[in-house]
């Protein structure tokens, strides 16, 4: 990587910083994407007749 980009000293700190940002950004997008799909499936009744309200309440307990 160091040949490709002019990084020099402290390259490690730099890459970790950008890496952490990327991980958090991707995570924040994935959470609502999966949640949306989950809701659609549950509302359409594809989860073996489980109680939807109970599902939602369970969801709300998670901090994210």
């Amino acid at each position: 990587m160091n040949e490709f980009l002019p990084i020099g000293d402290y390259g490690f700190h730099l890459w970790v910083a950008y890496g952490v940002v990327l991980v958090v950004l991707v995570w924040n997008v994935l959470v609502p994407l999966f949640r949306h799909r989950q809701i659609m499936r549950t509302v359409a009744g594809r989860r073996g007749g489980r109680n939807y309200s109970a599902d939602i309440r369970e969801k709300h307990k998670s901090p994210v």
């Binding site: 020099g8 700190h13 730099l14 952490v20 809701i39």
Partner: protein, 247 residues
């Protein structure tokens, strides 16, 4: 005019219209973020004293700005909710909290990764660092309060009050480097004065800030849409939508 506004502020209307805005928001975020990364990482001019570590500024500063911005938007939404009992405003505030908390965490982590080589410490109890940590706790407290209360309306009102009380903390973040002698450097870019950095650095910085702003809108929109579906899961339009989507 009122009808046009109403189409956006009613939850089903908001869901429908925001669905059309999403792909454009995605596209513009990816483009601006790529430009910001290129502008921040590629130019070949290591700082004299800092080597390459200064490049952390392109993610560190926008992260702090967006954490504060997300908090202010939350406060505005909370106020609208308290005054007008507007559901959508509450949903938006709820959606903003995790995004704002993420930005605060990123600001602290990238700052730490910058502080270690520059100051020789991952963390110091400095006024600026501590005030951003408190901002993170405000976001976290808001989320904890919401998830702890079963009554949704009560949770919305109580958390709105919490956010509004916390607003007094926001100016403290800005003035912390002025009022106390801190290890953290003073403001590089401030709305009140001319920026103190070279335009070659300022431009990628502003591009990255725009990318983070688009990202905030994108994620909040996605979260808001999910929350609307959850709240209206019994209504006809949601069932119809789910039937079509999963067919």
């Amino acid at each position: 005019m009122y009808r046009a506004l109403n189409q956006w502020t009613s939850p089903p209307g908001f869901y429908r219209h925001s669905g059309r805005a999403l792909p454009w928001l995605w596209l513009s975020f990816v483009a601006v973020f790529a430009a910001g990364l290129a502008g921040g990482l590629i130019p070949a001019s290591p700082d004299l004293g800092q080597g390459t570590a200064y490049r952390i500024i392109y993610i560190h500063l926008p992260a702090v700005w967006m954490a504060v911005f997300a908090y202010m938007v939350m406060a505005g939404s909370a106020l609208i909710h308290l005054v007008r009992r507007d559901t959508l405003a509450d949903i938006w505030a709820e959606a903003s909290a995790p995004v704002g908390a993420s930005f605060a965490v990123l600001a602290l982590l990238t700052g730490s990764l910058w502080g270690k080589p520059m100051w020789g410490a991952w963390w110091v109890w400095d006024a600026r660092l501590t005030s951003v940590l408190i901002l993170f706790f405000l976001f976290f407290g808001y989320m904890a309060l919401r998830s702890a209360m079963d009554d949704r309306r009560l949770a919305a009102r109580a958390s709105a009050v919490l956010v509004l009380v916390g607003v007094v903390h926001v100016p403290l973040i800005h003035f912390s480097v002025i009022w106390w002698s801190t290890l953290h450097q003073g403001s590089t870019v401030s709305p009140l004065d001319a920026p103190t950095i070279h335009p070659g650095m300022l431009i990628p910085l502003l591009i990255m800030a725009l990318a983070f702003l688009l990202y905030y809108l994108l994620v909040c929109l996605m979260r808001t849409r999910c929350a609307i579906l959850e709240r209206e899961h019994r209504s006809h339009w949601v069932m119809e939508l789910a039937r079509r989507k999963t067919a």
